[in-house]
Symmetry: C2
């Protein structure tokens, strides 16, 4: 199993590989805010601190860059979300790990990449096939977790498919509005998203999710004060 | 107050106005699936049953079309969601009206238009200012409703701002995955979204949301069977 990445630390890499992954991250964040169509190679070069000639040393063009970003995004999803979630044998704990890690990665900007995964029509058919299969595997992992929760009587009376898409929509949308330098701290945003997401799909029972939540919040040293508007 | 539209009926209009609003709807649905950047005037003409020359009788170009679609989308939001929600003096009922009507409009395709509202960078600055103000007013309406629910002790311990964006992300994402001809019926999808959204942001209490839900589901003649995968 691949080593887990720590989301708050830079992704370990060196030389060309490190520079390339920095470009993917910067490009993904710009594309996430502006949309893929409105993002130019110039925007990306500028934000990455490279000349326009310099960026072509690393990337052939916008379409190739998009595919590379998507591959990089799916690597991050598999290593940073799916692998640690698979370590949880309890389905509720697994769901919490998925929601927490995906939300956190979007809030911290690393996972801004995941919304870029929607720009499928800009890919070549061969590239599209590769990305579709990897996205499908991630979606199926979330849905299977929800199906297990349904079998255990913990899921609300909703379709696991609809629930999975609700969670993804909620999480992916974060990069459209959330600003790390705004009034709501990353810790407060993460805490709120976890509460809304978990209570949205799971039946609320004393001693179940509520307990897990308060334990986790204590563990993280999260304070609810100061981040409300 | 503007007359409320019935979401299941065609929007009343005639002649040029009717044809134009049909084009907006078709164009918005294509843009929603393919993304704005990947949608051509040809795609829109074809789906609207017009020649490429024909479509230019109604619309000057893609940028103007985008602005017109956004204005049309905000008209639909104000007439079809905000106006009826404002009739509810109870904040919980108002939130339910917002979630139900916005979700239903996206599911039924009419409200596919609302995700197009994210393509702000493609607008001229003057157009952007107009749309931003109208979007802001809608967002503030949702947030104020959540703030009232917080004051009444009904909101979970989450920021009304974060809760409002969670709901919008969840709802707007529907047009990225939902297919009316798929396994999940529109009625089942609407029921599930309402359950996930309302329980996600509101405290679950007996005699409160649960009762409203079951009454509403009975009123709508919704059946939970047959739509699960």
């Amino acid at each position: 199993m691949a080593a887990l990445i720590k989301l708050k630390e830079p992704i370990p890499a060196s030389g060309r590989g490190k520079r390339a992954s920095n470009i993917y991250r910067v490009a993904a964040e710009i594309m996430c805010h502006k949309g893929y169509g409105a993002t130019s190679m110039n925007d990306i070069a500028e934000a990455a601190g490279l000349t326009k000639a310099g960026i072509y040393h690393y990337i052939r063009g916008k379409e190739d860059l998009l595919f590379e970003i998507m591959m990089y995004a799916m690597d991050r999803v598999e290593e940073g979300i799916v692998a640690p979630a698979k370590e949880a044998t309890d389905a509720e704990e697994r769901l919490r790990t998925i929601v927490e890690r995906h939300t956190r990665s979007v809030i911290e900007g690393v996972g801004a990449v995941t919304i870029v995964l929607e720009e499928m029509t800009a890919l070549t058919p061969a590239h599209r096939k590769v990305i579709t299969a990897r996205k499908r595997a991630y979606f199926d992992f979330i849905r299977q977790t929800l199906e297990q929760l349904a079998a255990e009587g913990k899921l609300r009376n909703v379709s696991p498919t609809t629930a999975a898409f609700s969670l993804l929509g909620m999480i992916l949308w974060i990069c459209r509005w959330y600003r790390r330098d705004g009034k709501i701290t990353p810790q407060a945003a993460l805490k709120d998203y976890l509460e809304i997401a978990m209570n949205g799909v799971l039946k609320t029972e004393k001693g179940s999710f509520q307990t897990v939540m308060s334990t986790m919040v204590q563990d993280m040293g999260i304070s609810a004060k100061g981040a409300r508007e």
